[in-house]
Structures are given as structure tokens and as C-alpha cells.
């Protein structure tokens, strides 16, 4: 019964998304129509998706093993929280979550009255409902969630133990999907701009809240994923330039570029085609990420097992690309741009463009590096690995350049200024950055790349502090908060890779052993059972200097999946982490452990949090400003101000000397 309900709800979501597309597209085609398409139609798909997710969860929670997804992923011994999250622990169920979030965006986009242009909004809803229809159809026709299993087994193997280990499982995938799907909204607006030709300042205004939301959520998702693989999964590092990690990073890079270039477009309407390409590119890369994770193209610890979704998804991405190119060609008259070039070299516009160039270089690097092994194998049969060493080598100089830009860009005048005045403003930050380099070179010498990073970080922070102290304003602080968060994150990354010490060793009871500069003593090994899994824990006391801490790393064996998972133990302090993984424990109590001292790792998570929160705060301030702005516009008595978009950047400019 649950199976029927689930399939029916998913079919309803698919059909209503198609209906939404049909109705809204016909409304959009009638360009001068005063009546709008029915908004309630956009609510139907999300109701269908909620129904199908609800049916799947109900089957999981009631342990209905006649439903195929439950037979493959459910278990009587999994706790309720992880039973709920097991919906997105495997490909078929996670596609349902994906459809739910996508149709939720469709509902929000379609239900809220259009902020500006009606026909832009109508075409955006049309495009988004087409995307939603595709993914709902993908779930309906290639998904096996609700297939019947006859006869029904009495129990199942449970979800992958790696994914039933930590409460973050309930938060990270939905956040990541919400971020990736936000690019679908940006894409829809880009398509709408191509069709209506309205790619001017107002487009940038309308898109900015969505871009801010997408960016903030995606930042949270990515940093949380890094934290999870470090603190919980015991993979030792937080970022391995794994194909799946890169797949989430690529749309993030382009969304960041869009946020910056959008500022130029909001001011002067320039760069319309570039911003549209960024929006479309971000969506295509997000789709490409889905392809990579689920089609078996890439080999990674992260990927889902290969499913049948690869070819339809590739065809979809190719069709979207072809469609956008066709639209671009149809738009042979161009999208109009402000007269005059980009601006002199020492202007904020140029700085933003340089930022975009650097972000695109990073995107190309990560994309080519991720795809190269796959393509080389397919075309030539050659086996090549492209790993962290390549990505680190290429990205470090680019990120250093980005940091340097971050230190001067936000304070340049839009219209350009002389080198002298820039230098004058940058003197104090330069002194700050240089002194950081000198101090660290004396006190804690390390590799040149790390020293340069720390110096640039000092340079940027000093510039931000100086600017915020002179001109405190809510939106400005929020925007600079993002930069501060990014700097914190980079300092954490540089510090943990430059100063980290790691080592392996075997410790026998009663004989403390020095591993990675830390004295490790084992006082016992306990074996127990939790929720059907066997857990072996080593009771360790680690001493370094006069600090001592007790940690219990473990090994967890899941019979259902015949899989052993390492459960690391981490002692975190603001200055750094002590990270212990249990490699093996034998019968007489001696253990082999891997100990790592990772300084400044906590700054990475703090930096990520500051970035995401500042982004969300920016969004809130923006929405509040807009609401006040529309309220003021509706107050009839005062003469209307000139129709220039009221944005935080304009407000800041107004306060410039």
C-alpha cells in the first residue's frame, strides 16, 4: 500500500510539474498578459514530492520490508533517527529528497508575487518547472524505491555504517542539496533573461537574494562535509580533492563569481552576458556533480553505487546546454550593455573582474583535474591519477592572488583612482601583513607558501578592520564578514598543513610509546555491541608537555555490510587538534594507533561558519531593506527618488567622500 501511495505521489509531482510548465509557459508567451498564471499550480509538485518522501519514510519507520528500498537499506536494529536519514543514504531515496527540495524552490518562486518584471518571473517559473519535471521523471522512471519485494524479508542490512554514525547525516546532505539546487533557480532566471531580453540592473537585483541564499547554504554544506570527513569518518584529512568534493566546489566557485560580478551589473547594467553564463554554468556544474556521484564514472569513497541514472542525466545536461546556446544565438542583437568599457585598471570594477578571472581559472583547473582520469581512460585506456598534490600546486598561487585582491579590491573607487591614493590607503595593511611574515619567520618558521598566506591574511584583516572602523554600516559589515570568514578558513588550512605532525606506532599495555611527539599509553581495550555492530575501543591517555588527555578511538564492525569503520577520537583546542585513529587492536591489549597533531584546524570550521552566517545576514539585511523600500515607495506624499536600485553597494557609495 505504501508503495502505491509513494509511486502515485511521485507521479503526481511529475505530472503537476509538467502542467506547471505548460500553463506558465503559455502565460509567459502572451507577453502583455495582465492576468498571471495560477500561483497555486506551483504548490502541487511540492505536495506530491512531500507525499512520496512521506510514504518512503513511513515505510522505513514501520520496517515494511516489502518495499524494495527498505529491504535494501532498512533494519530493525537501526535507531529511529538513522532510519529517517537512511532515506538519503542510498541513491534511489536521495533522489526523492532532491526532488522535494527542487519542488520546494519551485513553490517559493511561483507563489511569491514577482519582485519586478512579470514576464521575467513567468519565464523563470517555466524553466524551473521544466527542471523539476525532469528530476521527478528521473525518480519515477529510473527509481526503484517502491518496487515490491516478494516474499518480504523479515529484516534488512541497514544503511551503510559510515552513514549511520553521526547526527550530521541528518543535516549535511539536505543542506548540500539545497545549495546545489539553488543554482537551478539562478539558471531559470538566466534563461528568462535570455528569452525576455531583460538582463539589466533589475535582473541583477532580482537574482541577488537567490544567489546569496544559494551561496550561503552551499558554503555551509561544503564546510560541514569537510568537518564530517575529518572529525567523524576518520579519513584523517578534511579535503582530499575527491571527485565528489570537487563536484560540490565547482558550482560554489561560479556562484561566488556571480555574487561579485552581479555587483557590477547592479550598478551599471554591464556584463549581462557574462553573468548569465555564470548562472547557467553553475547549474550545469551542479548537474554534472550529480552525474559524477551517481553514474559510476568516478572512483571514490564518496560515490553512490552506480545506478542507471547516468545516461539520462548526461542527455539532460547536453539538452540544456544546447538549448541555452540556441537561445543565445537567437538573441543575435546582444543583450545591450552600458556604453563604455570596463573601467580603468585601478577601479573596483576591474578588481571584481580580476576576481572573476581567478575564480574561473580555479573552476577550469578543478574541472579538468577531476575529469582527466575519466576521459583519458575512456579515450585511450591510459590510467592516470590526478590527486591532491596537483590540485594544491595549482590552486595555491591562485588563492594567494585572490587574497591579495581581497585586500585592496573592496576599497577601490568604482570609477577608478590613481595608484598614489591606493598606495596611501594600503600602507597600514601592508605594514600589518609584512610584520606577520617577519614575526612568523622568526618564531615559527615553515614553508614559504604558508608564510605568504599568513602575511596576506594579516594584510586583508588589517584592511577590513580599518575600513569597518571608518565606515560602520550593517550591510558593509556583513559583506566584509564573509571575507573575514574566508581568511580565517585559509589560515586554518595553511596552519594545519604547514605545522601538522603525524605518525603511527604500536603501544603495549604498561609501556607508553612516543608517537608524533606525544606519549601514548594504553590502559585497556574493550569490546562491545551497539545496535548490531561490534565496537572495539582502546582506552588511551596521551600526554604532551604538561597537558594530558584521555581519548577512546575505536573500530566498528558491521556484519550487515561486512565493513569495518574507524571511529577517530579528537581532542580539540583553539590552538589545534590531537587526532587519534585506532588501526588495530590485538588480543593481549596492544594497539596500533595513528596520532596526528593538527594545529589551527578549528579555525577552518569557525571560518566557514562566519562565512555562511555573514552571507545569511547579508540576505536578511537585503530583504529587510527591500521591504522597507517598497513600503516607502507606496507612501504617496514624498517625491519619488530617481529609479536607481537601492542596494547596499549604492548606499555605501553614497557615503563615500
Amino acid at each position: 500500500m505504501t508503495g502505491w501511495v509513494g509511486t502515485f505521489a511521485l507521479a503526481a509531482a511529475f505530472c503537476s510539474a509538467l502542467a506547471c510548465f505548460a500553463v506558465w509557459s503559455s502565460a509567459a508567451v502572451r507577453a502583455e498578459a495582465t492576468t498571471q498564471a495560477p500561483r497555486w499550480l506551483c504548490l502541487l509538485p511540492v505536495l506530491g514530492a512531500a507525499g512520496t518522501v512521506g510514504a518512503a519514510e513511513q515505510a522505513l519507520l514501520s520496517h515494511d520490508f516489502s518495499v524494495r528500498f527498505v529491504a535494501e537499506n532498512g533494519s530493525l536494529s537501526t535507531p529511529a533517527y538513522y532510519t529517517v536519514t537512511s532515506l538519503w543514504a542510498a541513491h534511489d531515496g536521495s533522489l526523492l529528497l532532491w526532488v522535494l527540495i527542487l519542488t520546494a524552490y519551485l513553490a517559493v518562486l511561483g507563489w511569491r508575487p514577482p519582485a519586478g518584471d512579470r514576464s521575467l518571473h513567468a519565464w523563470a517559473v517555466t524553466a524551473l518547472s521544466a527542471v523539476a519535471a525532469f528530476f521527478a521523471g528521473l525518480g519515477l522512471f529510473t527509481g526503484h524505491v517502491f518496487d515490491r519485494v516478494q516474499p518480504a524479508p523479515t529484516n534488512g542490512p541497514g544503511p551503510n555504517p559510515l552513514l549511520a554514525d553521526h547526527p550530521a547525516m541528518g543535516v549535511h546532505p539536505p543542506l548540500l542539496y539545497a545549495g546545489l539546487l539553488g543554482t537551478a533557480v539562478l539558471f531559470s532566471y538566466a534563461v528568462a533573461a535570455l528569452v525576455t531580453g531583460r538582463a539589466d540592473r533589475r535582473w541583477a537585483r532580482v537574482v541577488r537574494p537567490w544567489a546569496l541564499w544559494t551561496w550561503s547554504v552551499l558554503t555551509t554544506g561544503i564546510v560541514m562535509g569537510a568537518w564530517w570527513s575529518y572529525a567523524v569518518l576518520g579519513w584523517g584529512g578534511y579535503w582530499a580533492w575527491d571527485p565528489v568534493e570537487n563536484a560540490a566546489l565547482l558550482p560554489w566557485l561560479l556562484t561566488t563569481a556571480l555574487l561579485h560580478a552581479g555587483m557590477v551589473q547592479r550598478r551599471s547594467g554591464a556584463l549581462p552576458a557574462w553573468n548569465l553564463s555564470l548562472a547557467v554554468g553553475a547549474f550545469l556544474l551542479a548537474g554534472f556533480g550529480v552525474l559524477l556521484t551517481r553514474s559510476g564514472l568516478s572512483v571514490s569513497v564518496h560515490t553512490f553505487a552506480a545506478s542507471g541514472v547516468g545516461v539520462p542525466l548526461l542527455a539532460f545536461l547536453a539538452a540544456v546546454l544546447a538549448g541555452v546556446v540556441a537561445l543565445g544565438l537567437m538573441r543575435s542583437g546582444g543583450l545591450g550593455r552600458a556604453r563604455g568599457g570596463v573601467g580603468p585598471l585601478l577601479s573596483r570594477t576591474s578588481a571584481i573582474l580580476a576576481n572573476n578571472v581567478l575564480l574561473v581559472v580555479l573552476t577550469v583547473t578543478v574541472l579538468v583535474g577531476t575529469l582527466f582520469p575519466v576521459l583519458a581512460d575512456a579515450v585511450n585506456g591510459t590510467q592516470v591519477s590526478v590527486g591532491p598534490s596537483y590540485f594544491n600546486t595549482v590552486s595555491v598561487p591562485v588563492i594567494a592572488l585572490l587574497l591579495a585582491l581581497m585586500g585592496i579590491g573592496p576599497y577601490l573607487r568604482w570609477r577608478g583612482e590613481s595608484a598614489g591614493s591606493v598606495a596611501h590607503r594600503a600602507l597600514l595593511p601592508i605594514v600589518a601583513g609584512a610584520s606577520v611574515v617577519v614575526c612568523l619567520a622568526v618564531v615559527a618558521p615553515t614553508g614559504r607558501a604558508a608564510l605568504v598566506t599568513f602575511g596576506l591574511a594579516g594584510f586583508v584583516v588589517a584592511g577590513i578592520v580599518r575600513d569597518v572602523v571608518r565606515r560602520p554600516s550593517g550591510p558593509r559589515i556583513a559583506a566584509m564578514g564573509v571575507h573575514v570568514g574566508f581568511v580565517l578558513l585559509l589560515v586554518g588550512v595553511a596552519g594545519s598543513s604547514a605545522y601538522a605532525v603525524a605518525g603511527e606506532g604500536t603501544v603495549t599495555p604498561g609501556h607508553p610509546h612516543r608517537v608524533a611527539g606525544v606519549d601514548v599509553a594504553v590502559s585497556g581495550v574493550t569490546r562491545g555491541r551497539t545496535a548490531g555492530d561490534t565496537v572495539t575501543r582502546a582506552d588511551l591517555v596521551l600526554r604532551r608537555g604538561d597537558h594530558s588527555v584521555r581519548l577512546t578511538p575505536g573500530l566498528r564492525y558491521s556484519p550487515g555490510h561486512d565493513m569495518t569503520v574507524a571511529v577517530p577520537a579528537v581532542a580539540s583546542r583553539p590552538g589545534g587538534d590531537l587526532y587519534v585513529t585506532l588501526l588495530s587492536a590485538d588480543k593481549n591489549g596492544s594497539v596500533t594507533v595513528r596520532v596526528a597533531r593538527n594545529p589551527l584546524v578549528g579555525w577552518i570550521w569557525a571560518g566557514g561558519a562566519v562565512m555562511a552566517l555573514s552571507g545569511l545576514w547579508s540576505l536578511l539585511l537585503l530583504l529587510r531593506l527591500r521591504r522597507r523600500g517598497t513600503a516607502r515607495q507606496h507612501a504617496p506624499t514624498r517625491p519619488m527618488p530617481p529609479p536607481v536600485a537601492v542596494t547596499p553597494k549604492v548606499a555605501t557609495r553614497a557615503m563615500e567622500p
Binding site: 514576464s119 578571472v357 585511450n380
Partner: protein, 307 residues
């Protein structure tokens, strides 16, 4: 005084930059401990038996052996590049995760540099053509909207083309049927395959759900009547529950040809024969010969000795 401030801040800045440059040039990183150096080399090598993990990140036995090997070689004084070459000679060029600078892999290094140069050039060129920019947008020619019907037609054509491709691929053979090394929970058909039923049965066995396990094995057997795994495990289950009559029929074909399940099949057959009063010693001896370290072997030896 303002004048002196105008003078000494730039002077201070220049001095500070000079000091920083000197510090960067002269800084000598202390040699990191051996374990960190091993870690750094291990990060550049791929674990050959894992899903794309590096040797530093993987906990598999082979990765640990490789780390021991790296430790020994570094201790002997070899350079990281020499160590990497040693591994390349044994595992092929793809054991190293940094692409070389020759051949098509040059693209990996050339492309980022090329894009950076191109982007920088475009930026320079366009900033040259700058004219005082116009703030008001009213004199921009407003681009016309496209004909909506044409747009929809183009969209439908693209969608149809996109839909035709997977249909064309799926028709001749089943899409998505590939022998993956990490076997997906099912490959093609609408139902679980025999291997999945066996796996399900085993996990149910471990949990003690014997009726459920028997169901699962019977399903596997229905789908693959010659599956040694399904036959042996079902027979084992039946043996434990005392249904000895069908055990011999199930398990005898597995005891002949060599295979993974032959020892277990012999054990099951021998115990069933013993339960029915038939000669079983030869069978159990063959079991011990093939699997002397089986967890049940000590009991079987005791059983045979007590006769």
C-alpha cells in the same frame, strides 16, 4: 604633525616589505620529523586496492605496508622522488597522483595557465577602451523579447532530442548493467538478484533470524538453482534446524568441483550423514584436509578422534 606622518608611514611600509622579503628568502624550514615526511610522500601516492584514496588516508593493510616501505626508504636517505619512482616501477605511472609534464597530461598544467593569461589579457584590453561610463540606463536600447512560441518550440526539440538518446541506448541492451567491482545492491531487473538474496540471508543469519535467512536463501536458489553459495548456506541452515533429508541433495553437487564453498559443503554433508547414521568419516576428513583452520575444525577433529 601631519607632514611627518605622511613621511614615516610609507618609509615604515617599505622597510616592513623589505624585512618580509628578507625573511621569506632566508627562512629555512626545520626538517620535519620522519613521520611527517612519510605522510607527505604517502599523500602523493594512490592506494592501489582502494577507491581512490591516497596511501596516507587509507587504513587497508596494503596501504600500511606501503607506509612501512616509505618509512624505511626515507630512513635510508632516499629522496621523495626516488621513493615515488620505486613505486612507479612496481605499480605503474598511475600510482602517483601528480600528473607528469609530458604528453597529454601537459594539458593539466597548461590549461590553468592559459586561462589565467587569456583572462588577464582580456581584462587589460577592455580596461584600455574605457570611456567615462554612463550611469543612467535610459539611453540603452532595450533588447526585444524573443518570440515565446519559437522559444517553446526550441525547448521541445531539445527535450525530445535529449529523451531520444537514453531511449536509443536503452533499447538494444539494458542500461546500467555493468559489472562494478563494488557490486550495487542490484544490477538490472526489477528484483533483487541471487547474490543479494544470499547476502541478505547471511546478515539475517548473523542476527539469528533463521526463518528469514532460509526464505532469503530459497529465493536465491529459485533465481539461480546452481548457485553453490545458496545451496550450501541453505543446507547449513536446514542442518542446524534438523531437516536432514534435503541436505544431501542440496549440497552434494557442491562437494565435487573445487570452489570456495567446497569445504563448507563437505562439513555440512558430513554432519548430515552422521545425523542419519550414514558413513561420514571420509567426508569429514576431506573437509579437514581442505580447511584445516576453519572455526569448526577443532570440534570436527575431536569428533573424529572420539570414534
Amino acid at each position: 604633525m601631519v607632514m611627518t606622518r605622511r613621511v614615516w608611514i610609507p618609509v615604515l611600509a617599505v622597510l616592513a616589505v623589505l624585512a618580509a622579503v628578507v625573511a621569506l628568502v632566508l627562512t629555512r624550514q626545520p626538517t620535519p620529523p620522519l613521520s611527517t615526511r612519510v605522510d607527505r610522500v604517502a599523500k602523493t601516492l594512490r592506494c592501489p586496492a582502494c577507491n581512490g584514496e591516497s596511501v596516507a588516508a587509507s587504513d587497508t593493510p596494503i596501504a600500511r605496508s606501503m607506509r612501512s616501505e616509505i618509512t624505511l626508504q626515507l630512513r635510508k636517505g632516499r629522496s621523495p622522488d626516488q621513493v615515488r619512482q620505486w613505486f612507479v616501477a612496481r605499480y605503474g605511472a598511475d600510482i602517483v597522483t601528480t600528473p607528469s609534464t609530458r604528453g597529454p597530461e601537459l594539458l593539466l598544467w597548461a590549461l590553468p595557465a592559459g586561462v589565467l593569461l587569456a583572462g588577464g589579457l582580456v581584462l587589460l584590453v577592455r580596461s584600455r577602451g574605457h570611456r567615462p561610463h554612463v550611469q543612467d540606463s535610459t539611453d540603452l536600447a532595450r533588447p526585444r523579447a524573443l518570440d515565446g512560441r519559437r522559444v517553446l518550440a526550441a525547448a521541445v526539440v531539445c527535450a525530445a532530442a535529449g529523451a531520444a538518446v537514453p531511449a536509443a541506448v536503452a533499447l538494444p541492451g539494458r542500461v546500467g548493467s555493468h559489472a562494478g567491482s563494488s557490486a550495487p545492491t542490484t544490477a538490472t531487473a526489477d528484483r533483487l538478484g541471487p547474490a543479494d538474496w544470499v547476502r541478505l540471508g547471511r546478515s539475517l543469519d548473523r542476527r539469528g533470524d533463521q526463518p528469514g535467512a532460509e526464505h532469503a536463501y530459497r529465493q536465491a536458489l529459485a533465481l539461480a538453482p546452481h548457485s553453490a553459495a545458496a545451496r550450501t548456506r541453505l543446507a547449513f541452515d536446514l542442518l542446524r534446524r534438523g531437516h536432514l533429508s534435503s541436505v544431501e541433495r542440496l549440497v552434494r553437487p557442491v562437494t565435487g568441483p573445487p570452489g570456495r564453498y567446497r569445504p563448507l559443503a563437505l562439513l555440512v554433508l558430513g554432519l548430515a550423514q552422521r545425523g542419519r547414521g550414514e558413513p561420514f568419516v571420509a567426508t569429514l576428513h576431506r573437509f579437514l584436509q581442505l580447511a584445516p583452520d576453519h572455526p569448526a575444525a577443532p570440534q570436527v577433529r575431536r569428533l573424529l578422534r572420539s570414534r
